[in-house]
Structure formats: structure tokens, C-alpha cells
């Protein structure tokens, strides 16, 4: 692409290519200088305006319409490719030495083969050696099982999902099956029973961050019961992603800021939170 012949740019790397003319050199030098110092004087006001227009045009390249019709297919493929994490019975091993792949991989250990897999010659080995093998296999299996149990019952991380927390989302006119998608005009009803001091907030994503559009217990259209249950009603009147966030175990009041700031504050005080995204079309 050039002034004389648009589309003729075949240079391997434009950085090393000769300038088409002095004007291009001057423009390029100014652009480079203004990348370091935005106040670098332009060759001319007209040129500065031209580049301002060009860069504005580049920034406003259409990003396309929101289309979520392909999400399910990706999720299905992702689920099919998800690595196995549950203990898996390895058929190459006898029941006495069930190989727990996930645990073994985590520990970086190998499981001793079952006696039934041992070659026939093993029967000719001294009895004491076979006893030692059996004992080692049994001990290792017991250790592996103990580690798996320990992994399974270990306490959840700070932000793990709370089991006694319930979120219910309803629409006024008609209950929709999919609680992650809503239409303009729907109402969002969030019910929660936070553990400890808690708060429910609803954010609407605007300008790259979440803006608070509803909160409970310290906001309008919020009701609280004596047993600590909270209910927040928010009108969905803007087509944008929304987040419902339930904060728990707050040790001090949350700030009232952008969603990213509030989550950061919650993390700073080791509070727990759960969130759910709702897309409003």
C-alpha cells in the first residue's frame, strides 16, 4: 500500500523499508516523536487533524453485535476435553491396587503393580520377597487412599461456594428457565442468606467496569428478615451484562465504588463472595 499504488506494500518489514517520499518520512518521524511526547509539534495542523481522524476511526472499528449462539457449542467441547479429576479405576491394575490417577499425579508417585500383573516367574521367587512386595503394595495403597481422603475433606479456599447460600432470580411477568439471561423490562429478584455480616449487590457493566445499581441491606427495594435473609429487587432496563454479587463474612463496610474496587476490598479483608452473571438483552 502506498500513495502511488495502494496495496503494493510487499516489504518484509515496513520498519526497514525506504520512505516513499520526504512527506512520509516527516509524518513517520512526527508520529514516533509524539508516541514519546504527545505535545511534539506536528508538521502541520491539517496533518495532525488527519491523524486524529484516522486514529479515531481505527478506535471505532465496529466490534460486531453480541452473539451468544456459539457459546453452548464451545462449552460442550470444553466439557468433553476437560481433564479427568475424579479417581479413575485403571483396568491394568488389580482391585487391590486401584490406581488413583488424580492423586498419584498430584503426588508424582507411581503405584506399585498388583501381584496379579507380576510375571509368572515371580512365583518361583523366595516367599519372603513376595511378602515384602505385598506389604509394600498394601502400604502404598493405604497411603494413597489416605492422601485422597485428606484432599477430599480439606477446607474450601476463602472464596469457595458456600453451601448455605441460596440465590434465587425471578422475573416479574414470567419466570424464565435460564436464569443467566434476561430481557429489558424484567425484574431481578435476588434472595440470599449471607454467612456472617454480608451484603448483596447488583452491578451493571458500563465502560469496562461494574457500576452499582442495587444493594441490600443498605439500599432501596431491599427487604431483610430477622433470620438474616435478604431480598433485593432490581429493574433490568439497560441491555448490558449484570453481576449479582453476594459478599459474606465482612469485617468492615465495603466501599461503594466500581465492582472491581469492591471485590478488591472484599479480598483485602478476607471476606468471601460469590457472583453470577446475567446478560440482559
Amino acid at each position: 500500500m502506498s500513495a502511488a499504488k495502494p496495496g503494493a506494500d510487499q516489504s518484509a518489514d515496513l520498519v526497514d523499508a525506504p520512505f516513499l517520499d520526504d512527506a512520509e518520512r516527516v509524518e513517520s518521524e512526527w508520529l514516533l516523536a509524539s508516541a514519546q511526547d504527545p505535545a511534539a509539534p506536528a508538521p502541520s495542523p491539517e496533518l495532525a487533524r488527519d491523524y486524529a481522524d484516522l486514529e479515531a476511526l481505527l478506535e471505532s472499528l465496529p466490534a460486531g453485535d453480541a452473539d451468544d449462539s456459539w457459546h453452548d457449542e464451545v462449552l460442550r467441547l470444553a466439557a468433553a476435553q476437560a481433564p479427568e479429576t475424579a479417581p479413575v479405576l485403571d483396568s491394568t491394575h488389580a482391585p487391590g491396587t486401584v490406581k488413583l490417577r488424580a492423586a498419584d499425579e498430584q503426588l508424582g508417585r507411581e503405584t506399585v503393580p498388583a501381584p496379579t500383573d507380576a510375571p509368572a516367574a515371580a512365583s518361583e521367587r523366595p516367599r519372603s520377597r513376595r511378602v515384602r512386595r505385598w506389604a509394600a503394595a498394601g502400604a502404598l495403597t493405604a497411603i494413597t487412599a489416605a492422601v485422597v481422603v485428606a484432599v477430599m475433606v480439606r477446607p474450601p479456599p476463602p472464596n469457595a461456594q458456600s453451601t448455605n447460600l441460596q440465590i434465587e432470580i425471578r422475573r416479574e411477568a414470567q419466570t424464565r428457565g435460564d436464569e443467566s439471561v434476561a430481557a429489558i423490562g424484567d425484574r431481578l429478584l435476588v434472595r440470599a442468606r449471607p454467612v456472617g455480616t454480608g451484603e448483596v449487590r447488583v452491578y451493571r457493566v458500563i465502560g469496562g467496569d461494574g457500576a452499582l445499581v442495587g444493594r441490600c441491606p443498605a439500599g432501596p427495594r431491599c427487604t431483610g428478615s430477622a433470620d438474616g435473609a435478604l431480598a433485593l429487587d432490581v429493574a433490568l432496563d439497560v441491555p448490558a451484562p449484570h453481576y449479582v454479587v453476594i459478599f459474606e463474612q465482612l469485617t468492615r463496610p465495603l466501599p461503594v465504588g466500581a465492582m472491581s474496587e469492591d471485590l478488591q476490598a472484599a479480598r483485602a479483608m478476607n471476606a468471601r463472595y460469590q457472583m453470577k452473571q446475567i446478560t440482559v438483552h
Binding site: P6, S28, A35, Y51, L58, W70, H71, Q81, G208
Partner: protein
């Protein structure tokens, strides 16, 4: 006869023909492109990852960045159907590798890197029926342009044509900078260059784009 405000309040200036002169538009200083990072979604996705909910994180990322990744791929590959395939591959790869995401940068930049490499892989394949005529790709200025003025649409279409004429390794840097709003350092990391080299390259690309736009009738 209308009075026109000048730099000195109270003074009036009238053209020879009786019409007010057009006020001179001061050239704005250059500024870095706006970031396209969706902070709320990034926070939400990272929160899901902390809880081990990779599928939830994937959903959030698809909602937040799916459209932009698709349009980036379409502009890189000049093929909308192939762009959809790449989009699927990008998010599947993100799902598989999200545990390796180092939280130094943004998820947008990370996804952009995956998309960039997937597009380069596709472009290395022999071009058979892959490329669409440029004219049909002008419709990349499609749906959301319906609310724009005709002159604006004409400019956007001319720009799409000019972007299509850039070599892919140049086009990707323009798109990373302006379409994704990545910094020179982020772009440099993705394409294996220093931030300075990225700035030099962009400083060479923009004059060519400006001339192309003039030739295409997209600007004055």
C-alpha cells in the same frame, strides 16, 4: 448576521461574504488508544478461576470478549466463517490453558495473544477458498454501523479496505493497538518485539494508511 465567538470574548468577526468564518479546529494532542479491558468481567472470571470454576470463567470471557475476538480474526483472515472457527479454537484453548494464565497482564491481552497465533497459523495454510473478496468484508462495518452517518460508513469501509491491504503482521499490530487498545509493551510481548520497535512500526504503518484512505476517498 450571526456573531461568532473568538478567542477574545466580546469581539465579533464576520467574513467578507457576510457568513461567519468556520472556527479553526485546533489539532488535538495524540493520545494512547482507549483500553478495551472489561474490568468487571475480568474480575469475575478470575474469581471463578479461584474457585475452580473454569467453565464459568469461560462463559464470562466469551460474553465479554467473544465479539471482539471474532471481528479481530475476521479482519486478520478476511474470512468470516474461518474467523468463527478461530473464535471457537481460541476459547477452547483458553479453557485448556487458563491455569497457566500468569496474572501479570489482562485476560484480554492473553486472549488476544491466542487469537493472534491462531490467525497466523491459519494464514500459513495455502490460500484456497479461504479469502473472501474485500468488498464483502467491507460489511465488517456492518450492523453497528447502521446508526452511523453515510459519510462515516464510507470512511469505515475505506478503512476496512486499507487494513485488508496491509500485510498480516502489520495489520495485527494496528488491530492490537486500536481495536483491542493494547499498550506498546503488551503488543511487543505478543509479537516478540520491544515496545520501541512496536512504536516504530506503527509510525510507519499510519502514514501508509492515511494515504490509502485518501486514495480510497475515505478522507478529504
Amino acid at each position: 448576521m450571526r456573531r461568532v465567538e473568538t478567542s477574545a470574548p466580546g469581539e465579533a468577526e464576520v467574513s467578507r461574504h457576510g457568513d461567519p468564518p468556520l472556527p479553526e479546529r485546533a489539532p488535538p494532542p495524540r493520545r494512547a488508544p482507549s483500553s478495551r479491558v472489561d474490568r468487571a468481567s475480568e474480575e469475575a472470571a478470575l474469581s471463578c478461576l479461584n474457585r475452580g470454576q473454569r467453565d464459568e470463567a469461560l462463559k464470562i470471557l466469551m460474553y465479554a470478549y467473544g465479539s471482539r475476538i471474532t471481528q479481530y480474526a475476521a479482519r486478520m483472515l478476511r474470512d468470516r466463517e474461518l474467523a468463527k472457527d478461530v473464535r471457537q479454537q481460541v476459547f477452547l484453548k483458553a479453557f485448556q490453558q487458563i491455569d497457566t494464565f500468569e496474572r501479570r497482564g489482562t485476560l484480554l491481552s492473553w486472549l488476544c495473544g491466542i487469537a493472534h497465533h491462531r490467525c497466523l497459523d491459519e494464514l500459513k495454510r495455502p490460500a484456497t477458498t479461504r479469502r473472501e473478496p474485500l468488498d464483502t468484508l467491507e460489511d465488517l462495518a456492518w450492523d453497528s454501523a447502521l446508526s452511523e452517518s453515510p459519510s462515516r460508513i464510507a470512511k469505515q469501509r475505506a478503512l476496512e479496505r486499507c487494513l485488508g491491504k496491509l500485510q498480516p503482521h502489520l495489520r495485527t499490530q494496528v488491530l492490537m493497538r486500536y481495536f483491542f487498545g493494547l499498550s506498546d509493551a503488551e503488543i511487543g510481548e505478543l509479537v516478540g518485539n520491544t515496545p520501541g520497535a512496536v512504536q516504530r512500526r506503527v509510525a510507519r504503518i499510519l502514514p501508509r494508511l492515511r494515504r490509502c484512505l485518501c486514495d480510497e476517498g475515505g478522507t478529504r
